[in-house]
Amino acid sequence: MSKKHKISLTEEELVLSLRNHEKIAIEALYDMYSASLFGVISRIVIDTTTAEDILQETFVKIWHSFSSYSTEKGRLFTWMVNIARNLAIDKIRSKDFKNQNKNQEIENNVTFIDEQKSTVYKPELMGVKDLVEGLKPEQKSIIDLVYFKGYTHVEAADELGIPLGTIKTRLRMGIQQLRKHFN
């Protein structure tokens, strides 16, 4: 599917057609948000096949529980990305996913752990660094840990050895920086 064929609707149109369970709604939803959601999911769940399964689960869940979304509670994407993140986090914390990882070869584990700890730089994240100017590394790492790794801010504080208050401040500052950048 090339880009020019992608369906795009305004958020209001999309919400309305999703409520009516229209075929075009789910197609538009996929075309507009699958890459953003997959970006989040595939950073939490490293394995591509698993990430694709989670993306499918995410869209199925969005489709079936759309009645629980209300525009008053916020943006559609916020609601969807939280579904995606929760499904992805549930997956990596599930027993069979952990067992599956225990059976990985040692060689694979080296890169797997590297990927999990984000010590290697992903090519798709290289461009982001250029775009998001002024985002300090410590701010970015907290945002990434919480947003892309599924950490709670409490876990992130433990992971980075930083007090909770500092985590919250850095998170806020980082997002402020993002806002400035996108404006």
């Binding site: 599917m1 369970h21 075929k23 789910i26 197609e27 996929y30 075309d31 699958s34 890459a35 953003s36 959601l37 997959f38 970006g39 989040v40 595939s42 950073r43 694709e52 993306l55 499918q56 869209f59 199925v60 489709w63 008053e72 509670k73 916020g74 943006r75 994407f77 916020t78 990305v81 939280n82 993140r85 929760n86 798709e124 994240l125 461009g127 982001v128 775009l131 998001v132 945002i143 919480v146 947003y147 892309f148 709670t152 801010h153 919250k168 401040t169 998170l171 806020r172 997002i175 993002l178 806002r179 996108f182």
Partner: protein, 278 residues
């Protein structure tokens, strides 16, 4: 207003957008957003920036995944629609269902009614036919028996007449007319064949008074002057056949006497009715 600003500064709105917040705090943030436009605006700004950040970090999934995911959702779309649509039509469905029940039930009942009536009529008709056929069969059987009896009777008669005729045709038979000794009106015809040792009396042309139930006529053969018993017989008006008596090879004369029932050893001479000599 200072409170609101401080509330925003805590960073709770960022955690809300990231979903990293307890359910109680979540409700609290939503309540605040409803109450204070500034909170709502701040939330929107955070959400938008995170959305754009995700967009910057987007990873395009493989192209065949689109078909797979949309397919898995859309295959059930028809079912989902039916499921959702059902409650809206509940009332009309009930109405239709009522109509169907009302229309179909009597027609179903009628069919069985007619079927039952038809079977009953058929049963009655068959019973009547059976009875009539049975009675005709009985009638035919009766007729058949009557015909068989008649046939037998005729066969008997033909046999008898054949036998009688053979007596007259047989040249060995000699006919002898026994004449009344006292009353000349009396007469008995006797046929005798010495060769076949047969004696027969013609019951039809017998001219003897009817005997009572205590007496019977007895036929005697006189051989060398001595009477030999040839058996008893009754003189009745309706006898027509030739009666075969006891056999004897030789006889000079025949005589009939009236004896007590069952016959006597010796003839009662004063009761001699008819006598005939060769």
């Amino acid at each position: 207003m200072e409170d609101i600003k401080a509330y925003i500064e805590t960073g709770i709105l960022e955690l809300y957008v990231l979903g990293d917040i307890s359910p109680d705090e979540k409700l609290q943030v939503e309540a605040m957003a409803l109450k204070h436009p500034a909170v709502k605006a701040e939330l929107d700004a955070i959400e938008l920036s995170m959305e754009l950040y995700a967009e910057e970090n987007a990873v395009e999934p493989s192209e065949n995944l689109r078909g797979r995911i949309l397919g898995s959702i859309l295959t059930n779309l028809g079912d989902d629609r039916n499921f959702n649509a059902a409650p809206d039509h509940e009332e009309s469905d009930f109405y239709e269902e009522d109509n169907i029940v009302l229309l179909s039930k009597p027609s179903g009942n009628n069919f069985y009614k007619y079927a039952f009536a038809a079977s009953l009529a058929l049963l009655i008709a068959s019973t009547i036919a059976l009875v009539s056929v049975y009675s005709r069969l009985q009638q035919s059987n009766g007729q058949l028996i009557a015909l068989q009896l008649q046939n037998q009777h005729f066969t008997n008669r033909v046999n008898l007449m054949d036998k009688e005729l053979s007596v007259f045709r047989d040249p060995s038979f000699k006919l002898l007319k026994l004449q009344g000794t006292k009353n000349h009106d009396m007469a008995v015809m006797v046929a005798f064949s010495p060769a076949k040792k047969k004696v027969m009396i013609d019951m039809r042309n017998m001219k003897l008074p009817q005997n009572d139930k205590d007496h019977q006529y007895q036929l005697w053969a006189l051989v060398g002057g001595k009477p030999v018993d040839l058996g008893v017989f009754d003189a009745t008006a309706d006898s027509t056949h030739m009666k075969e008596m006891k056999s004897i090879a030789l006889a000079d004369a025949f005589a009939v006497t009236l004896e007590p029932k069952g016959g006597s050893v010796n003839p009662t001479m004063d009761q001699m009715m008819v006598l005939g000599k060769f």
